[in-house]
Symmetry: C2
């Protein structure tokens, strides 16, 4: 399906995509690029890519699909560098966790959103990063959201959709703003809560003892605070408005719960827990 | 070790304790009590208890150990009922997730803390409840905190310690207030955050779609929002002050993070995430 795939940023996401497409027998050659040469060497050794070039300008030469799988904050400089060097028929996509900022980046570079650019976001990952953590089945049964614009060419859109389907993912289309709102609620806010919780506890006087007695719930709850800080820093910058809106909503609800506890309004406390349990149980049916 | 064990509240905790002691061959007869007769019948059928009496007054007759494994809010009425009917040498313990309120309950009933009462808290559990969810290995490798007081008899303390050790748990002693502070931080606060997060999202206009795209992190994070609402309502009432203090600390930290994001103070955001990741990774070394 793809003759020459260029993956810029051969980490957990980019590496897993390359592995999945190789395993599906749907890619000819895979060229990697990125800033960490050790990581690229490991990617060759692991058979994730065929070869690499640390210079993305040379890496994209002749590629029919270019996947920019770098942190959100690095997308603009990477795109700016490669744009003049893309093959005429190249289709470009990204994997950023926020899409409004990526579209704005693209508009700044091109003056418009070019038909060959398809913004994408695979909702998959672990707390690990780097090519060593990548695996071919990462996207199986997971959702990949594409946010094509009015300007996006149908052929480019379909090619990227097909590429992700080959990894076993379910691909859905969504508007850019809507994507960012949904992700602010379901992913970005929870990460802020996990980071804040761990940080709050880590700054208590008896933190050593507190962490010693942290129970199972805390372990699950705080796992996402092990995620890559730089990546999450970039997400905060990229999806600032919608994330702040969700933090404000959550904070108001938490303040309301605290007030009910303080006022000994037991009916309100119980009703809130019951509502949440019902919503959560309906969600996962476990 | 125990001739006759009486478990009042044969749910996940009480049932698992009975199962573990039976499996260890360290208990003669197990009598169950509680309000749900269906649950007690299931407990007999499952071999968790030998017999039951829905009246705790009759159930405690001749028992050398009485475990009060009911929700925090039910401990006082249960204790008040059984106190005149305990065998002279009976040792009584509880499994409540807050200890200050239990000690206050006991003081209200007796006018003091009697030497045969040993406040306890096994830090174990799942989101399930009821005897059907109980299993003998629930406490293996988990911690059980005992908060004996100056008035507690050494023999009673050692008996309850030994009982929990037989389940495979690691038993530690702690002051009452200190226990409640540690649990407010590591368990009660995270549960409030999980309940609030799910409730916040469940009240958004596009909640159906939002839950559809909830990613893996959210699943782990929100699992504890499936916990028993009544039990958590009781914990909020029982540990109100220390819980409110932790919510206030967390809220201030979350507001500080939001302010850093709003002000585009990228260094502060990154530093906070890095600090949290370091603390979390050091904690579990995974």
């Amino acid at each position: 399906m793809i003759q020459r795939l260029c993956v810029i940023g051969v980490g957990l996401i980019g590496g897993s995509l390359a592995r999945a497409l190789r395993q599906a027998g749907e890619v000819g050659e895979v060229i990697g690029s990125g800033r960490g040469e050790d990581n690229l060497r490991a990617a060759v050794r692991l058979g994730v890519i065929d070869r690499y070039d640390t210079d993305p300008i040379r890496a994209v030469a002749g590629a029919d699909v270019v996947v920019v799988a770098v942190p959100l904050g690095a997308i603009e400089p990477v795109l700016r560098a490669i744009v003049p060097h893309l093959a005429p028929a190249a289709v470009v996509t990204d994997v950023g966790s926020a899409k409004g900022s990526v579209v704005a980046d693209v508009e700044r570079i091109y003056g418009h959103v070019p038909p060959h650019f398809v913004p994408g976001h695979p909702i998959a990952g672990t707390e690990q990063s780097g090519v060593e953590a990548s695996f071919a089945t990462l996207f199986q049964g997971r959702r990949v959201i594409l946010t094509p614009l009015a300007e996006t060419a149908a052929a480019s859109h379909h090619l990227i959709r097909r590429m992700w389907e080959l990894t076993g993912a379910e691909v859905v289309d969504m508007g850019v703003r809507h994507h960012d709102a949904v992700l602010a609620a379901t992913s970005h806010l929870p990460h802020m809560l996990a980071y804040t919780l761990v940080d709050t506890l880590a700054r208590l006087d008896d933190r050593a003892e507190i962490f010693r007695y942290a129970a199972g719930g805390f372990r699950d709850f705080s796992r996402i605070a092990s995620s890559d800080p730089k990546m999450w820093h970039d997400i905060c910058v990229a999806n600032r408005e919608q994330l702040l809106e969700m933090i404000a909503l959550f904070s108001a609800d938490l303040a309301r719960l605290a007030e009910a506890i303080r006022a000994d309004d037991r009916a309100a406390v119980l009703a809130m827990f019951q509502r949440a349990k019902r919503a959560r149980d309906n969600l996962y049916l476990e």
